[in-house]
Subunit: 389 residues, 2 copies
Amino acid sequence: MCPVEGHRFWKDSGKLADGREIIYFDESPALHRAAVPDRRELARLPAEPRPEQEGQFPPAGLRWDALAGEWVIIAAQRQDRTFLPPTEECPLCPSRDGRLTEIPADDYDVVVFENRFPSLRGATEDQRAPAEAVPGGPLETAGVPGRPPTGRCEVVCFTSDHNASFAGLSPHRVRTVLEAWADRTTVLRSIRGIEQVYCFENRGEEIGVTLTHPHGQIYGYPFVTPRTAHTLSQARAYATSRRGNLFDDIVAGERASGTRVVSANEHWTAFVPAAARWPYEVLIFPARRVPSLPDLGEEARQAFCDLYLDVLRRMDALFGMPLPYIAAWHQAPAGDDFAHREFAAHLQVFSIRRAPGKLKYLAGSESGMGVWINDVLPEDAARRLREAR
Amino acid sequence: MCPVEGHRFWKDSGKLADGREIIYFDESPALHRAAVPDRRELARLPAEPRPEQEGQFPPAGLRWDALAGEWVIIAAQRQDRTFLPPTEECPLCPSRDGRLTEIPADDYDVVVFENRFPSLRGATEDQRAPAEAVPGGPLETAGVPGRPPTGRCEVVCFTSDHNASFAGLSPHRVRTVLEAWADRTTVLRSIRGIEQVYCFENRGEEIGVTLTHPHGQIYGYPFVTPRTAHTLSQARAYATSRRGNLFDDIVAGERASGTRVVSANEHWTAFVPAAARWPYEVLIFPARRVPSLPDLGEEARQAFCDLYLDVLRRMDALFGMPLPYIAAWHQAPAGDDFAHREFAAHLQVFSIRRAPGKLKYLAGSESGMGVWINDVLPEDAARRLREAR
């Protein structure tokens, strides 16, 4: 159990050999881990390549999809990123026995550092980056500008134990991870150019995870993401027509019905959404609505740890094997007054596994038209998760 | 080459043993294939299950995702559908040598029939279905109605040759397939309750294809799909602010620049979009804009066959192996005046393969936030496709 009186952690930050920032979140004081120098010889990341000619697209960056009305990130320099290295070459383990990894210290509790193969970059605390559009080349006449890929991509290691999983963490450690998420949300959203902070975990080779060491990621996007923009648009329309809060009414409806509730305590409700898109999908909302993680109160933070572990362990118990999943924290964008008043931060956990030998693929309907087809009845998914132990 | 004077085909329709419709598109006259009875004993599809209690969600159907503002199809009855059967049990081969398949005839050119495991159903030419919402149960207070899964799912077999692929068809056969797509578009959009007709092909086990016999699908959706709604919204905004047509300007820009053009002739342009989401993605637009397939003129229909085959063969040549792909026809919704005037029907073909041993996965950014990250520079993708033969 988490200590009732609140959670203590010690934060310290340093620099890696190529100038990237590393931040330790320790559960004990005075470890001075950030003071350990990174002894690797790493070339500094090259500056973002520029277009060869005036008016051309930059080779990488943000591009405007004029047909969808959405930004797409072109990150061509990432093709060579580390891909499923053997355990003894894991870059997320601590540096020990002469082997130097991304984490210079010989141990850590929770550690965050800038991704070496980022799809967004350039937004740093000391180097504020402009977010304005640059001319887009041949398609400028069609309203298709390009932008530099301003933003930030961080990696969060949940434990130094290579063979652990999030579901196997102690509640105390989950709380430290939650504190790291909240801290990074506060820091990143204060950087000019970053409009939305997204904390998430990809777990499982089935969804393309290239490093098995338990870790998640944090993106600072230089725009409001399509998913969040659509949700805000729905919440605005609901506030206007029903004079209520969409999130509150959904959570109250699920608690009252109970059919799709998987796990709940005084401070949180975990339920399968009525219109679930994925075979197994759970939304986790705090009872007291807050726009983002830093706004969670002490009691809600405490109560989150056991509840989330309960949900993850049920997911792993479903098929008696580690379930591939994506865990996605939905938070309010930084500079949106309506969102700050009305958005409800929540965690969405979902899996593409629909049966022991079967995955859910996104094929023509989902990838072509944006229409999801779910083969598992949400009420059945909730019942199976309630029964899985 | 297709015959210059226009394409002749013979259409004939019959019923399968369980009442589903089957339509033959033959390249020779007087084959009377539809008159061959289906000798299987198939139970009629059960009626759509109804909720056990008043006010509950129906066990399957359309559900409104109130957070995204989109319909999701719940199709729980499909979990047991045929999954990668051995060749000698393929249900899409003709019925021969005493083995009875979905196609009663002993041969066919192109054949369309209603899917035995449909995610949308009930919209038929003789049984017009209502499309209005039904009360949604516990979440009705949160504006989350359910609807019956009214619509139609059809299968299109491109050839009776089990081991062929679309890229290996003759131009003449491609033309017959195009005529079948256009015919089904005309027929399905005239059915009350169907708002958008979608012709597509999923190809490759990597994207979850469960039958390897060359075939595609046609969906009649009872709503305008999210992708099409977003595109129409962008086209409307463009028409208002620039007083031009978004599609025309994009195609003109690509033809003028040429950087991303993969293949072109007088009537069609195939190019990688500037903000491509997928490692290899090609959009194919006719030179003369039409809202949907039935509006294509004779010359455009003729010119499509060779161009599309050229694009598909380049895609298969990229990595020297059959490329998994989704081919998606974007068409104007049925009852939208603006779309009828301004939408440009186009074919989008894209692959999740980014290298011989690597697939593009939709992970946290794409599936959680709707932000696509593409590791392949669109200009490089276009160059490689131009060079692939």
